[in-house]
């Protein structure tokens, strides 16, 4: 089980930056496409505002959480979770 924990640690370490890249990629795809539709009068300007708002909230919150996931992965790789630490007195 400890080997699995360490291998998965690598997965979390890789997954965290992948998630961040995916978020920015989606942001840079969605906003220009929407700007074109708003300029063409096919979508109201308020939709662009709500899309900006969504991405500001998402990136502000989930980028630090992704760093947390990377840290969790790092601790896993280092074997910090090898022993079943569950009792608070162990801490």
């Amino acid at each position: 089980m400890n080997a699995l924990k360490r291998i998965l640690g690598i997965v979390w370490l890789v997954l965290a930056p992948v998630l961040i890249v995916m978020m920015f990629n989606q942001l840079f795809t969605e906003i220009p496409a929407l700007e074109k539709l708003v300029a063409a009068g096919k979508k109201p300007a308020s939709e662009l505002q709500s899309t900006y708002l969504f991405w500001i909230i998402t990136i502000t919150i989930f980028v630090p959480i992704a760093f947390g996931l990377a840290l969790f992965g790092y601790y896993s790789v280092k074997g910090e979770y090898d022993r079943d630490v569950m009792f608070s007195a162990d801490l």
Binding site: L4, L8, P44, S46, E47, S50, I57, L91
Partner: protein
């Protein structure tokens, strides 16, 4: 470390068992009222009323998303409330800290009920609501951890899961109470003969649930004033072992920080999305996607909650017998596998395109009236359709025609479906299943969180992963899911992929399930007096 408890420890953990029901009642009532306060806003946002009242009306979808964003803001600040009040709770004690959170929550809720609408106050209205919503979030961030810790620190070690599960029922019962008050207010103000029977409620009646909060808070403060400090905290304090800086100890000490991360990714993140998908998003889905009459949708959620709530206690009790981990993980796995079929079934139940219309009973009413203070007329067409199975659909088209012919008419369409008796119970069943998953992942989690952190930093340490998981991962669920669905809308498919948004809760639940299964230990910490 020995798993056998010393006589002194056992005595400390069971000494107040005689008074445990008083402790549970006092803690639960206050927490229930805080959840009620917090969820009125969410329930009204899910019904689209907050959007109509506090945001510009030129685009109903944007207004709905903005109201969900304000709703989400309350969740985003919860971890900050957890840090601020958690620190206070570990320094000065549990009792006084959650008295402060109660007053802050009650005051904010009451004032939301007094804020003028966007039409009256302009941009100041959404801004004020946002500030009050942030205060609500801060207060709730400080409340839950305190209540769970307080009850756990009074509980016998072998009944901790059961006793803390009463605190776990409060979030769902707070939602139930908020919907109940909304339904009651709606039914009192309902005018069956009007074009929109809920017009009075949507115009001003929605303020009532916010305003009555002040009475509930006064009662709760009175009850909590009579509570005593937690025996474990008193012991730690008398020995001079309280933390000098709980924040520093919680998050800069690696041994503790790694447990905070494990609690977040291995338990609370998945729990949060399951909680909010099963209750909040389900309500939003019934209202917005299935277009079920808001009063009926609320009634469906209420019935399901009443039927399923005892299972919080069942799974809390069971976790004392077989451990917390596998119950929580089973709930997550069930949710992962069942969400898409359940939501497809919910949509099918309410899809009028699949029902046979009794065309001879179709009724069309048209009304034309001048628009107040504008050179325009409003034409309202109300089509009432009855279907063979007893389902009723009301389709309203509002067309604003401007005197200036060069300006395009503004058309707003809305639909309201009232399900027949059998379909209504099918819907109750589908919601029941989702909340059943919630009882599995949420029932044992308070005991689980209490057990992995020591007394002197417990309030701070357990509050943060709980509020990041439940508040951020979970609380943002309706917002993110709705946004994903919006992104799938195209000219060819104007309603988008209605199930696409579910990949968010499913993805988070999968992550938590894998981490929980691999990393969480199965044993339970009997001694939380450290």
């Amino acid at each position: 470390m020995s798993t056998t408890l010393s006589n002194q420890t056992q005595a400390l953990q069971t000494q107040t068992d005689k008074g445990i029901w008083g402790v549970i009642t006092a803690s639960s009532v206050g927490t229930l009222i805080e959840w009620y306060d917090f969820y009125i806003f969410g329930s009204l946002a899910a019904m689209g009323i907050i959007g109509k009242q506090f945001f510009p009306g030129d685009n109903p979808t944007a207004a709905f998303l903005s109201s969900l964003a304000t709703f989400a803001a309350g969740f985003i600040v919860r971890p900050f409330g957890a840090l601020f009040f958690g620190r206070l709770g570990d320094l000065i004690g549990r009792k006084y800290t959650f008295l402060v959170t109660l007053i802050l929550m009650g005051g904010s809720t009451f004032f939301i009920g007094l804020v003028p609408s966007y039409a009256t106050w302009g941009a100041a209205a959404p801004l004020t609501v946002l500030i009050l919503r942030l205060l609500q979030g801060l207060a709730l961030g400080g409340e839950y951890g305190g209540a769970a810790t307080y009850v756990a620190e009074h509980s016998a070690y072998n009944r901790r899961g059961y006793f803390t599960s009463f605190i776990q029922t409060t979030a769902t019962l707070g939602l139930l109470m908020s919907i109940g008050v909304i339904i009651l207010t709606q039914s009192v103000l309902r005018d069956e003969n009007g074009v929109n029977p809920n017009a009075a409620f949507e115009e001003w009646g929605w303020r009532i649930p916010f305003l009555i909060s002040i009475f509930l808070i006064v009662i709760s403060i009175f009850i909590r004033m009579r509570m005593h400090e937690s025996p474990m905290f008193k012991k730690v304090k008398s020995e001079g072992k309280t933390s000098k800086n709980p924040l520093k100890e919680s998050f800069t000490k690696k041994a503790n920080l790694k447990m905070v991360l494990l609690a977040l990714f291995g338990a609370t993140a998945g729990q949060g999305v399951v909680w909010y998908t099963g209750q909040y998003y389900a309500l939003s889905f019934m209202n917005k996607t299935c277009a079920i009459d808001s009063a009926q949708a609320n009634q469906i959620i209420m019935i399901a909650i009443v039927l399923v709530t005892p299972f919080f206690l069942v799974f809390g009790w069971l976790s004392d017998k077989i451990g917390r981990k596998y119950i929580m993980m089973a709930g997550l796995l069930a949710a992962i596998l069942a969400y898409r079929p359940i939501y497809q079934a919910m949509y099918n139940v309410s899809d009028i395109n699949k029902k046979k219309e009794l065309t001879e009973q179709t009724k069309v009413d048209t009304k034309t009236e001048p628009v107040k203070d504008k050179p325009a007329v409003l034409q309202t067409e109300k089509v009432t359709k009855i279907f063979e199975d007893g389902t009723k659909a009301v389709l309203i088209t509002k067309t604003t025609k401007f005197d200036n012919d060069s300006k395009e008419p503004k058309i707003e369409k809305s639909k309201s479906i009232t399900l027949n008796g059998s379909d209504k119970w099918t819907m109750v069943g589908l919601i029941f299943i989702q909340i059943f998953f919630v009882t599995m992942v949420y029932g044992p989690i308070a005991a689980f969180l209490v057990e992995i952190f020591p007394t002197k930093i417990r309030y701070t340490s357990m509050s943060l992963p709980y509020h990041v998981g439940n508040g951020i991962f979970g609380g943002l669920t309706p917002y993110i899911v709705t946004r994903i669905i919006e992104a799938t809308k195209t000219e060819a498919q104007p309603s988008g992929d209605i199930l696409a948004g579910l990949w968010y809760p499913i993805g988070v639940a999968i992550l938590t399930f894998i981490i929980g299964m691999v990393y969480l230990p199965t044993r339970t910490d009997k001694d939380v007096t450290d």
